[in-house]
């Protein structure tokens, strides 16, 4: 099951988290109270040039010492603090959520780590694979993920989600089967500015995992959604494909359709399938991805999971259920269900 929401205001006008919380709670039937989470973009304008690293620490002794050391080795921490939380009866605080605002040092960017993003990716993979008791679950700029085990309202209240104002919101109500109870297993999954909320199960996970691991990504979070964030980073950032092309690679047209396309289009789609066959995602899914310049929603090639879209002026809504969209915006216009594999893209207006 699982319920998902994606929201963007294309003029970058920011909205606080209260209505997202309410809308997500409307889909409680799709969850089991074992996990919920929110991603918000535009929430740290005062630190917009720094990477906001959100970390779950099991304790602030040994794991934190190791993360501090690693970060100091690779750059400068301009600010750090415990992420403010408010105790909730429905949530057992098993981790300490912490945030760093961090800038990698330019002196160290050579070879395979030629950019800030390469360094951040490396640090995330290092910590998540090798530091016991620490998980970096959010690592973008001017954005952050807030997630835990519990019902959507409880998680939102725990983090005081209404105190954050963002122009992109992703939200997820979880019915876990892979890793219940583990905070790291809740959605959204994030790497750099890619965040993913996902309803479904990826039957091609083994193939996708082998593919991204060949490029240095490490799947450490015990759930299939993680690999989607890495696929977007690999294809979207490293291979510089447009969002449309990334979706085309992950949920490509069927060969029968490709055969019927005009020659050039057919050749292009064939090239995508040949080149990115290992990135193709199979099995039932509906996904919304948050990115630096907007949001992308899409489903699997035969639409085995629901996805609904609504628009209102500069606002675009994507969700598992129309009820959630109407809860967010009773005035919403143009509500429709996209076709299987069709990308729904919301970009900022320049």
């Amino acid at each position: 099951m699982c319920g998902i929401i994606g929201f963007i205001d294309r003029t970058k006008s920011r909205m606080d988290g209260s209505s997202i919380k309410a809308a997500l709670s409307l889909m409680n039937e799709r969850g089991s109270g074992d996990g919920a989470g929110y991603a918000a973009y535009g929430i740290y304008p005062e630190y917009a040039d720094y990477y906001a690293l959100h970390v779950f620490f099991d304790n602030l002794a040994e794991p934190k010492k190791k993360v501090d050391e690693l970060l100091q080795q690779w750059g400068e921490i301009v600010h750090q603090e415990e992420i403010p939380t408010i105790p909730q009866p429905g949530i057992r605080k098993v981790h300490i959520p912490w945030r760093y605002f961090f800038k990698p040092s330019e002196d160290l960017m050579v070879g395979r780590m030629a950019s800030e993003k390469d360094v951040i990716t490396y640090i995330v993979m290092q910590v998540n694979a090798n530091v016991n008791g620490a998980t970096i679950f959010s690592s973008g700029k001017n954005m952050g993920v807030f997630k835990a085990s519990g019902w959507p309202e409880d998680v939102a209240n725990f983090y005081g989600i209404e105190n954050y104002k963002g122009y992109i919101w992703l939200a997820h109500n979880r019915y876990p089967t892979n890793s219940p109870g583990w905070w790291g297993g809740a959605h959204p999954f994030n790497l750099l500015n890619w965040s993913v909320v996902h309803n479904g199960e990826i039957t091609s996970y083994g193939t996708n995992q082998r593919y991204v691991e060949g490029y240095g990504y490490k799947c450490t979070l015990f759930t299939d959604t993680e690999v989607v964030a890495y696929l977007f980073d690999l294809l979207g950032r490293q291979h510089e494909l447009s969002h449309e092309m990334v979706v085309r690679a992950l949920a490509p047209p069927f060969w029968d359709d490709i055969d019927r396309m005009p020659a050039k289009e057919s050749e292009l789609n064939k090239a995508i399938r040949l080149t990115y066959g290992s990135a193709l995602m199979n099995g039932p899914f509906a996904i919304v991805v948050g990115t630096e310049d907007g949001i992308v929603g899409f489903t699997d090639r035969i639409k085995l999971r629901p996805l609904v879209v609504g628009e209102n002026g500069s606002k675009l809504y994507i969700s598992s259920e129309e009820a959630a969209i109407r809860g967010l915006d009773p005035e919403v216009k143009n509500v429709y269900t996209p076709r299987a594999g069709e990308p729904i893209i919301g970009r900022f207006i320049e």
Partner: protein
């Protein structure tokens, strides 16, 4: 004759009450087990190979064949086979020849791998009602794509694709040469691959004129003997395969006994009538990887870079780095032939003892190619002991792009795996050049049988994928997450990168 004879391998009997004395057994047995004396059919069991031709042709089910009618004193070390080999060699002083694939009773890894299916959390997909894509492209693929925007704002592909073979199903028929097998067998298989949208290898025996109508479905082979190779041959094939080695006999060349070299074979191979065709162990122009690279480039130049070039190697201990070396050349596919691969004739000691299983070879090659970031540079074709659609599905899940079948295709033509392929007496008309035997195969009917096998496996593969919630073959490829090992040891699971059942 101080050694005397060894006991017969089989005992043949005729139920005289059932027998109608039609004589079909006499006509059909090319090993001359049966003969008529007066009004009686006499039996010489010692000559029997258990090819079962007589049984299949007997209209009354009157024939029985029993294996090992005489027991040796049982012994765990000095087995019957070991003792008989020694006796034979004491007599001949020669290498023992054998046919078909590895006949030792070693555990089969495929049988200890289990496939997955969906329940509840993800729906299985019904191939009768939903699209199911098995289309496979064999050849080099770019590791990433580049696009450009045209002036009108359209997105155009900048990357050029290398030529690839398009397969409608990931099952191809491997290289069995004309010479080792009959023309009618070749024709049957060529018609079948054309019908099922896949490809077949010619083997190293050149290309008979009768196969020209199917040439766009044929992969022509260049082996160390260079039999039948000229520019015309190269240009006719859909792809070219350089054979370095063969799973049944890694490290040595092909061997076609002179008995099988009749006029047609001699013309097609371009060798003298009746001469043994013994391919050299190495290619005498390939003594290192850079020499192989040169040969690949030469073949590509000769055919104007229009055809994919494959390199076939036997699965030996170091197969993964060798494959990685091949991936760095301009080769488009690497064929790995496991130690159960079949052959028309091989020294028994090689067939049974040299090389490694195809399952581990696929796993380690795929892993190595990925580690080195060259997996997209080359397709991986697995062969050697693939017996069923389950083996096929497991091969792909371990990381192969497609498989070659050999023995399975021959069994669909009638072969009963008796293993006497090198004697030119094949009563099923497969491994023989004798016209009266070869004509036992009608290529039209043979083609239907081979095509039926490919279709049957293709349907089963679709069902297996659908049950696993996968609707395109690329999502099965390398998806070891959907395999579990059953009764495999920890070391083997690690090499295969597969979890044990229950995990």
């Amino acid at each position: 004759m101080t050694l005397g004879s060894v006991p017969p391998k089989f005992k043949v009997g005729i139920d005289r009450d059932q027998c109608m004395d039609c004589g079909r057994c006499i006509e059909n047995c090319s090993y001359e087990v049966y003969r008529r004396e007066g009004d009686k059919i006499l039996i010489e069991s010692r000559k029997c190979t258990a090819c079962l031709r007589c049984v299949a042709m007997c209209p009354r089910d009157a024939i029985t064949i029993t294996e090992k009618p005489v027991d040796y004193r049982s012994h765990p070390v000095w087995t019957r086979e070991i003792r008989e080999d020694i006796i034979n060699q004491a007599r001949s002083g020669k290498i023992i020849l054998s046919g078909m694939g590895n006949a030792r009773d070693l555990p089969i890894i495929y049988d200890r791998l289990l496939l997955d299916a969906c329940q509840v959390t993800n729906p299985s997909i019904d191939p009768l009602r939903e699209p199911m894509e098995l289309r496979t492209y064999i050849g080099k693929k770019p590791s990433k794509l580049k696009f450009r925007k045209t002036e009108s704002g359209d997105v155009e592909l900048e990357t050029k694709l290398a030529p690839n073979l398009k397969l409608d199903t990931p099952i191809m028929i491997g290289h069995m040469s004309f010479g080792a097998i009959s023309l009618n067998s070749h024709l049957s298989m060529a018609k079948a691959v054309k019908e099922t949208g896949t490809y077949m290898g010619t083997g190293e025996g050149g290309l008979h004129k009768a196969l020209y109508p199917y040439q766009d479905r044929l992969i022509v082979q260049v082996a160390s003997g260079r039999f039948g190779v000229n520019i015309d041959y190269l240009e006719r094939g859909a792809a070219i395969e350089i054979k370095i080695g063969q799973g049944a006999k890694p490290g040595i060349g092909g061997h076609l006994p002179g008995e099988k070299v009749n006029e047609e074979v001699s013309k097609t191979r371009m060798i003298p009538l009746g001469s043994d065709a013994i391919s050299p162990a190495p290619h005498h122009d390939i003594y290192s990887i850079e020499d192989l690279v040169q040969l690949i480039r030469s073949l590509k130049e000769a055919t104007e870079w229009k055809k994919p070039v494959f390199v076939k190697i036997a699965a030996v201990h170091n197969v993964a780095p060798i494959a990685a070396g091949i991936a760095r050349s301009s080769a488009d596919a690497v064929v790995i032939d496991g130690f159960r691969g079949g052959t028309g004739a091989a020294p028994k000691v090689f067939r049974d003892h040299v090389g490694i299983p195809i399952e581990v070879a696929i796993a380690s090659v795929d892993q190595k190619l990925r580690e080195q970031g060259v997996r997209n540079e080359i397709s991986v074709i697995a062969s050697g002991g693939i017996r069923s659609s389950a083996d096929l599905a497991k091969s792909i899940a371990l990381g192969a792009d497609a498989v070659y079948i050999g023995t399975a295709a021959l069994v669909s033509l009638g072969c009963r795996v008796c293993g006497n392929c090198y004697r030119n007496l094949c009563p099923w008309g497969i491994a023989t050049q004798q016209p009266e035997l070869m004509n036992r195969i009608d290529p039209e009917m043979g083609a239907v049988q081979v095509a039926n096998l490919i279709k049957g496996w293709t349907l089963e593969l679709s069902e297996l994928m659908g049950a696993a919630g996968i609707n395109s073959i690329e999502s099965l490829r390398g998806n070891r997450d959907r395999l579990r090992g059953y009764m495999l040891d920890e070391g083997m699971l690690k090499i295969l990168d597969v979890l044990p059942a229950g995990a």
